[in-house]
Symmetry: C2
Subunit: 293 residues, 2 copies
């Protein structure tokens, strides 16, 4: 990988990588000599959903790689109906880039994929940041039929990014104001855009959530096998993947620091982007084998 890219989330052109019979869309931001950071996206999200206020600062000193999994955005194929299927694509993408080790920022669904990658091929994952996500066997994961979510998702007045302001942020004036700033930042990119995710993408990803809610064997036992340093982050009022799931991650991952933000929901990393990127950079640049930074 080049270490001289200086693109931002707003300016990075979309690139395409063919690996075996798959073509993956991705963007590279920033650059430097630190280990690359692979960013794994949330339910229905594409490359365009990465907040420049998060992605750009993380690109200071390292390459940040935004990735469309199979069937999402302009990547080929169908969306897998399991997290394991998505993890297989992400690992194949790393192989195609000839990256033998990277750090990972997994948000929501992406955090589940990150855990699965760490379990399947530990050598590829150095440090993990798991935001607004859940362990396998977690509770109340992305139940979009809940009234607190359905009333926004079914509101025809909320077009484009506007629904994200409602469902990623807490129903307080301060959090909603941060949500407004977030969608304004996303909207600044107007060219070389991914197509928005359609019903097929969402149905397959929801199937993956339903599967992820089922424990395989003793609940949370698989987390003991993830020894990489992890930073688990959430907003205390996350309606999409409640903060209790972050508690279970921190309690069962052997090497995880938990950071929870006030007055915020699923999108805490966007609401507190200055704090989040400061913590994330400190965590990622630590040379300790332990998670505390």
């Amino acid at each position: 990988m080049s270490t001289s890219t200086t693109a931002t989330a707003g300016s990075a052109r979309t690139e395409f990588l063919q690996v075996k019979d798959a073509t993956y869309a991705y963007r590279r931001i920033g650059g430097g000599f630190r280990r690359p950071l692979l960013c794994l996206q949330h339910f229905a999200g594409t490359l365009d959903n990465w907040d420049p206020a998060v992605a750009d600062p993380l690109g200071d000193g390292r390459e940040v790689i935004l990735f469309d999994s199979a069937g999402v955005g302009r990547s080929s194929g169908n969306v897998p109906t399991t997290v394991a299927g998505m993890a297989a694509h992400a690992l194949q993408f790393l192989d195609g880039l000839c990256l033998t080790s990277c750090d990972v920022l997994g948000f929501s669904l992406g955090g589940m994929v990150a855990q699965q990658m760490a379990l399947e091929r530990p050598s590829s994952i150095h440090r993990m940041i798991l935001v607004g996500t859940a362990p396998r066997g977690g509770e109340d994961i992305m139940h979009l039929e809940k009234p607190s979510l359905a009333r926004h998702l079914g509101d025809p007045a909320l077009k484009g990014y506007a629904v994200l302001q409602k469902i990623f942020f807490a129903p307080t004036s301060s959090s909603q104001a941060a949500g407004g700033a977030f969608i304004e930042r996303l909207a600044r990119r107007t060219e070389d855009l991914d197509p928005a995710s359609g019903p097929d993408v969402m149905a397959a990803q929801i199937a993956a959530f339903r599967d992820w809610e089922q424990s395989l064997g003793a609940r949370f036992a698989d987390l003991k096998g993830i020894s990489q340093p992890a930073l688990v982050v959430n907003g205390v009022h996350d309606e999409m993947i409640p903060v209790s799931n972050s508690y279970r991650l921190a309690e069962n991952l052997p090497n995880a620091v938990l950071l929870v933000y006030p007055d915020s929901g699923h999108g805490s990393l966007f609401q507190y982007h200055e704090s989040f990127t400061r913590h994330a950079a400190a965590f990622l640049t630590s040379d300790s084998p332990l998670a505390p930074y």
Copy 2:
């Protein structure tokens, strides 16, 4: 207050302040122009129980004030049997120092006193760090009769600080090693020591814990009235005041960041003193009205 003190936890001489009919023992560490940091101690702890690896770095740029509440160490009077009684003494001590505003680091019992101070006189408390503590109405607070604690507290072989290695740290080799280093650091101070707390001190403090477990009105409703920025810290395997109490603090305080450490117990701040003091300093020096730092 002088801002030129440069004493360390190991060298600071004990000072005495008379306020009304009470005499309070305290020590001052470090110095600088930042707001002073009042440190409120744990069950049975005295001035000698502050880890220099925590207190000294915090004294870089500010005065750190270690405080013996009434009836503890060489402070006069009897130990109150309620947290409110202890908070009244701490506020009277601030009055005696002519400090109209300070930051507070409250550990365990001290964190309860800090919450009570913030409720009773909000103007005196600027930012709060609450470590290994619980809200009023919290659960499983300092039940020393639990087998996991009683087996150490009743072990005649564990003399002096040695019992703290067992009850403040997790039962893993890594956490116990950190506990060994902690008690070695405490033992370096050999002069001008406080008397150890006796059964009367402990009985009164335990009575205060039992009272604190009882909600007054709706559970955790009082926390909504504490608007100061707070940093809530715990070890994920705290046996003395379980981490669930820190979850409830972060969920109900309107302006709190939660930081939870892995592989650690009640004494997470001592185990990860480098990380803790880095986070604490960043939190305390923030000039935002919000807790995220």
